[in-house]
Symmetry: C2
Subunit: 292 residues, 2 copies
């Protein structure tokens, strides 16, 4: 009994530490692994899409700013562009606007073949985009293989169906017919090409260390904008899609390395002869521009 009363304070200490640990541990877990905790409750927020620049940065603190130093160490060369008259520039700006304004996201794509060289030039054009510290952090995976396109479709549709089921809950059954059109993506089989755009979240330095690619998501998205312009310029259509939660599985399917994350998936081809688009309007200039 005397022994027990001497031991009591020690036992209480152990018990308290255990209780304290149990009580406060969960918050620490949330901090270190947010993807698990948020993915379940909000399935439409695609975890894989998030720019993990910050996470990667902790592994390699000694990196350059987006305004590259490497660039400054290179010799400079003279630069000029063809100079248009005021009238010509105005006409060019109008013509290019008219061309781009005809672009729409099109889900009805013709199976007709598209010359491979045209696609090559479109990708080359996308590769002229600027990027943080000239890292060119993009990989364009062009899929024309019928079986691989089908695998991509199955994977995307499977995830989409799950997303819709989770999201719709009880309304699911009654709305089934209507919603099904959302996650059945026939164009992934039909389009002659799928272009899967990956962002490289980090690269490798000559010494084997990781090199963080700052602003990789912005850079790759800018490159995609130029790619869309290049497609439109040759009469091809696409729908700019961000496949929900499919990134990691598509990356494995296409055997891309771990530093690459899927940003966008574009089915590409000529528009189907009976293609339709929703009758959307664009905001007028005065709603998107402010002049100071």
């Amino acid at each position: 009994m005397a022994l027990l009363s001497i031991l009591t304070p020690a036992l209480v200490v152990v018990l308290c530490l255990v209780i304290g640990f149990i009580l406060f541990k969960p918050q620490e877990t949330t901090w270190t692994s947010p993807p698990q905790t948020t993915a379940g409750s909000r399935p439409w927020v695609d975890q894989d899409l998030q720019d993990d620049t910050e996470i990667t940065a902790t592994e390699d603190e000694d990196v350059d700013l987006a305004d590259s130093h490497e660039e400054e160490e290179l010799p400079h060369v003279a630069f000029s562009l063809p100079r248009h008259t005021e009238e010509a520039a105005l006409k060019r700006s109008k013509d290019f606007y008219n061309l781009m304004n005809q672009r729409r996201s099109v889900r009805f794509i013709s199976p007709e073949p598209v010359p491979r060289k045209v696609i090559d030039n479109v990708i080359r054009t996308a590769g002229t985009a600027p990027s943080g510290a000239h890292t060119e952090p993009w990989t364009f995976v062009v899929v024309s293989d019928t079986e691989m396109k089908h695998q991509v479709r199955l994977l995307v549709e499977e995830e989409e169906e799950m997303n819709y089921r989770q999201r719709m809950g009880d309304k699911w059954v009654q709305d089934l017919a209507k919603i099904r059109t959302n996650w059945v993506k026939e164009y992934l089989d039909v389009a002659p090409y799928l272009i899967l755009i990956f962002k490289q979240t980090y690269g490798t330095l000559p010494n084997g260390k990781k090199k963080t690619h700052y602003y990789n998501e912005i850079s790759v998205s800018i490159s995609c904008g130029i790619l869309l312009a290049a497609l439109q310029n040759v009469g091809l259509v696409t729908v700019t899609s961000t496949p929900l939660n499919c990134g990691p599985r598509l990356r494995l399917l296409l055997k891309r390395p771990a530093n690459e994350k899927l940003l966008l998936l574009l089915p590409v081809g000529y528009p189907a002869s009976d293609a339709t688009v929703p009758d959307l309007k664009r905001k007028p200039l005065e709603e998107i521009m402010v002049h100071v």
Copy 2:
């Protein structure tokens, strides 16, 4: 003494709880307010640039997916594009590549005036970009006012200098002359236009509630890619910059609402007659494209 030995276990319990609380509390604080803790140690990661889609989503859970439902409720209209012969398409794809491949980030901009109508058309063209659920979440602030351009320059340079000072530490004094060229941005005064591209992180529904703009950063970056193509098409140059940590102050300077965050700042004009660019090369096609 007897009273004390009875009280000891109770005191130990209280002590343990206090210790436990002190030990585990800090992690909770880090979780709720990461911006403060990371901004100090890594000043080159721009907090304001991060897409706060996730944060905003907690305020309004009932939102649409990027693949809009609104679109589906609209009537559909027929869609077609001019069809080019194979030969013509190939030529167009080459010509557009050659045009875009001449684009470079240029820091030496001529003060010569640029017709305002050309800039209007460039912004109109950027506004044709696709966006998540057709939210068109962009605002292009075009600054031509001399005094306002100068205010923007002062603000950007002040922040840049702080960033460099923090980053360089002891090496600062000796490298001063070399580094100064990084944060002195004369082109912000000289260029006839500054285009500040804001992403709208949320919009307002007719009932006054917030509407989250999913993928707003990707959408606005894509729009910027089309804008760069439009500038290049008329012989104008820019440097695609992401001003570090300046977003909130520039937003206030330009009187933009709280839902808008600065994504990019582009000084725009003709290239200076003595403009130079670093002698960079671009990755060849086989390094950026994978064909399956």
